[in-house]
Subunit: 106 residues, 2 copies
C-alpha cells in the first residue's frame, strides 16, 4: 500500500538492506517491528518491498519521533539481530520530505 501521508513537511527514514541466507525468524520479527512502529508517537506510515535489495520507507512527524523509535527497547533488540544474523549490509537515510504529489486512477 502507498502510505497516506499528510502534507509536507514530515520525515522519511529510508532503510535499504541486503539480506543474508533465509532465516524463518526474520519475517516474524519484521512483521512485529512494523506493528510496533505503527504504535509509536509521530508515526505516519510505511512502505516496503524487497527484490535484490529491500527498501522500507517509514514516515514520521519529526526527528524526535524517529529518535524515540530508534531507541525503543524491542526495536534495539531487532537492530542487533539484524546486524548479527539477517543483513549483510544496510543503509539508513533520514530525510525531510519537502514536497509531494501523486496520482490515483479514478
Amino acid at each position: 500500500m502507498i502510505a497516506n501521508t499528510p502534507s509536507p513537511p514530515y520525515y522519511a527514514v529510508i532503510f535499504t538492506s541486503v539480506r543474508k541466507d533465509h532465516d524463518p525468524a526474520y519475517e516474524a520479527m519484521a512483521q512485529k517491528m512494523a506493528q510496533l512502529a505503527a504504535q509509536q508517537p509521530g508515526y505516519l506510515g510505511m512502505e516496503s518491498a524487497r527484490e535484490a535489495v529491500g527498501i522500507t520507507v517509514s514516515y514520521w512527524q519529526d526527528e524526535a519521533s524517529i529518535k524515540a523509535w530508534k531507541q525503543q527497547v524491542d526495536h534495539q533488540v531487532a537492530q542487533q539481530k539484524g546486524r548479527q544474523n539477517w543483513y549483510s549490509a544496510y543503509q539508513v537515510r533520514v530525510a525531510r520530505v519537502e514536497r509531494a504529489y501523486g496520482f490515483s486512477k479514478p
Copy 2:
C-alpha cells in the same frame, strides 16, 4: 544494490507506485529510464524493489537536478505513459537527506 551515496546533505526522490496489469513494454521503459537517469547531471544513485508496491528511490545532488530530470523529454513521455497505461496510483516525495549511516559485513 545499495546506492553508494556521498555524505549528506543530498536529495532523495521516493517514488512509490502500484502497477496495473502486466504490460511487457513496462520493463523495457523502466530499464531505459534508469539508464537515462544515471546520465543526468547531479545523479547520485538509485535503489528499486517491487512487491505489492514498487519503491524506487533515486538520489540527487540538489533540487535543480531533480527538476531537470523531471522535465527531460524522454522522461516526460514515460511519465505520461505511466499515468495512462502502467500505474493505478503513485506518490512522489522529494526529500532532503540530512543524515545517513550504514553497516556492511566485513
